[in-house]
Symmetry: C2
Subunit: 415 residues, 2 copies
């Protein structure tokens, strides 16, 4: 962007009205949104978006995974597309900003840009099931060719319910697997999302420019002792798996808090066997995940926690099975797009900082297919997946203007 290029600004009123309209379906009494993927409320929100696309004179496109797009392609359609997107689905009893703000801002951006760059091919895409009601990042993983039939056969919940939900949305396994796009057809993927944390708020920064997604590493840590009678087994003769699991859970929190400020780790579940008042637990499996932007640090932390687990097992006379389950690898965002986010922010007088994303986003899938960029706007109090989720409107406008001028720079480079 040379000094002579004029900055563009979004239409604040239209942006606000569109956001309000897109957050009506599935609105809850407490000010949140309840739009699990493929639910009636979610499909209603898509219908609303479809009407808006039509009213504003964009081309409607829907792929086999249900991803719904507004397109403004150049007459020749010879050039790669600038794709902007996010998602209209929410977690159960989630908030209004997560996903929907990204759709509203992207939709506002292409309305401005088609006036200035009518020859640039642009598209706003609403991805299916970002939140993983059934399969995390379903739509963007399908579009980037990462979804398999095996994934579709192993949804959260039960496969029958998933197939029923697909049917309600006129989707099929075959259709989903056919939604793959080709790398050469895309110039870039851009997304705006709420931070879902307090790093921006605490540093009083307007925009977070995401450098990459943390890797997510999942483990099943099993402590085995001796299932025994809770009355007749003396306290000092027990091999109680609950004690090893509890000790480990506390160690996870302490280790990460004290030694790994760049990581998080969570014990979200424990499975007790046999799991009764009157029987000493013979086996407890701890569901643990850790997240880090840096694979080396993740590995260090894993080794550290493995040792802590072994020490907890030894303390209580237990056997340990420390099982690595699966990883969602860390992803880097595109450096050239990061640069454009920076210069756009600077020119707009908007403060920014670089940060890793601690959650998964569609930009993560899309980065495997196309140069991708993601920016965050602040989440007040860090509330996320909750009706308390909130971002002040002026902060949303700042984010949308950074998104607009970044997309503009890409459109200009194609012109």
């Amino acid at each position: 962007m040379t000094i002579s290029e004029p900055l563009l600004h979004i239409n604040e009123t239209r942006f606000r009205e569109d956001f309000e309209r897109l957050t009506r379906d599935g609105a809850t009494k407490d000010g949140g949104l309840n739009r699990p993927a493929l639910s009636e409320a979610h499909l209603s929100a898509r219908e609303t978006f479809r009407n808006m696309i039509c009213e504003r004179g964009f081309e409607i496109h829907e792929d086999g995974a249900g991803n719904l797009s507004a397109r403004n392609f150049s007459p020749e359609h010879a050039q790669p597309v600038i794709l902007l997107g996010s998602h209209l689905d929410s977690v159960a009893d989630g908030g209004r900003f997560d996903g929907t703000l990204g759709i509203a801002s992207a939709f506002e951006v292409i309305q401005i840009l088609r006036v200035h760059y009518p020859q640039a091919s642009m598209e706003v895409i609403d991805f299916t099931d970002e939140e993983g009601t059934w399969i995390s990042l379903l739509g963007s993983r399908a579009a980037s060719g990462q979804l398999t039939l095996q994934d579709l056969n192993n949804p959260r919940g039960n496969p029958e319910a998933f197939q029923k939900a697909l049917k309600r949305a006129d989707l099929t396994n075959e259709g989903i697997l056919s939604a793959t796009r080709h790398s050469k057809t895309l110039r870039a993927y851009l997304e705006l999302h709420i931070e879902q944390g307090t790093r921006l708020e605490q540093s009083k920064t307007d925009i977070g420019i995401v450098t990459g997604m943390v890797g997510i590493y999942m483990y099943l840590v099993t402590f085995r002792g001796q299932s025994n009678h809770a009355g007749t087994t003396p306290m000092n003769e027990r091999q109680d798996a609950a004690l090893g699991a509890s000790e480990f859970c506390l160690r996870v929190q302490k280790t990460v808090s004290e030694k790994y400020p760049d990581c998080v780790a969570t014990v979200g579940h424990m499975d007790f066997s046999p799991g009764a008042f009157n029987i000493i637990a013979g086996r407890v499996t701890v569901f643990m995940e850790l997240r880090s932007e840096n694979p080396q640090r993740a590995e260090m932390l894993q080794e550290d926690l493995h040792q802590k687990a072994q020490s907890a097992a030894n303390t209580f006379g237990l056997e340990l099975d420390f099982q690595f389950l699966e990883a969602v690898p860390a992803q880097k965002m595109d450096p050239s797009i990061i640069n454009i986010f920076e210069s756009s922010s600077e020119k707009l007088g908007i403060t920014f900082k670089h940060l890793p994303s601690l959650a998964g986003h569609d930009a993560q899938s899309m980065s495997l297919l196309s140069p991708s960029g993601l920016i965050f706007v602040p989440s007040v109090g860090g509330y996320s997946h909750s009706s308390r989720e909130f971002t002040p409107w002026e902060a949303c406008v700042k984010g949308a203007n950074v998104l607009l001028n970044t997309a503009k720079r890409l459109a200009a480079s194609l012109s």
Copy 2:
């Protein structure tokens, strides 16, 4: 028992053969027994016992709760009955001695005594579902009038499966509730059981004379925090219910081990909500029970653990709900029967000690109806509810001889 009364001794060979015969149905490859109440294997064992009762010329009696008896009633049947008993059912994959040894020794006792005291009314009873496959102490609680229709409508497992099992054994709810016996018809209830612990083994004592059953107190201890995103919520901003529950679990073990040698306490289960890898637990409910012979000590321990739970909740910024769920009150065994157990042991040159029972037994139900007494024989290694359950045969014989001479004294007093 005056000095001139001769001691009786059981027939060791017959006792051994009967025990072996009664442990054939449901025998497992590893030397245990698998006879959950009302299973085919359990009903086969009852059929075997029924045949033995018939062969030895006793009267067969079966009540509405399925309790199966061998009776030798005096011709006039004017006098109260000396009842001896235990149970033929086992836990899933249990051991050979738990319950069945009590039936075999009681059956041996009345075979000896009917020769010497033909005019005494005696009965050996095999109680239904002592182990609580469906309802703990079902048969003895029915006989002692403590079972309600509400209990029958809330079995472990599901009510349909329970009703199906009852049908297989030709039992009905109405029949079970009609099995109540009357206090005045009973002189005493006597039972021999394995200890299921190591107190006798460690003190090298032949017989444990049970002074009473511990009370069992059950609690649901719930820690409430804030369910939140496991990636975007910084470690120091979490209200993680898993941490409070884990801290409490460790404190329970430490507190009881260090300060309450007369009690035991167990965390047998924890229920996590929502319970996923990627969500910080917003609520964890800890299933805890404690056991003590002394209600005052149980209350002290409860207060101590309540404070520990509150302290764990405070440490991690959580709310606490410390809910008392239910109690099985402590029961005293009859002092006069304890005296007869003592004098019988002394005369036989068998060592004994007084101890509380840390598990529930049919003698606990029966003590509400009749003077009751319970003795333990040693469990090698304390193994219980396991194929490793074992008591040396000479120890079983010693126990049966104490049971015999105690019942003899009661029979003599009726003659």
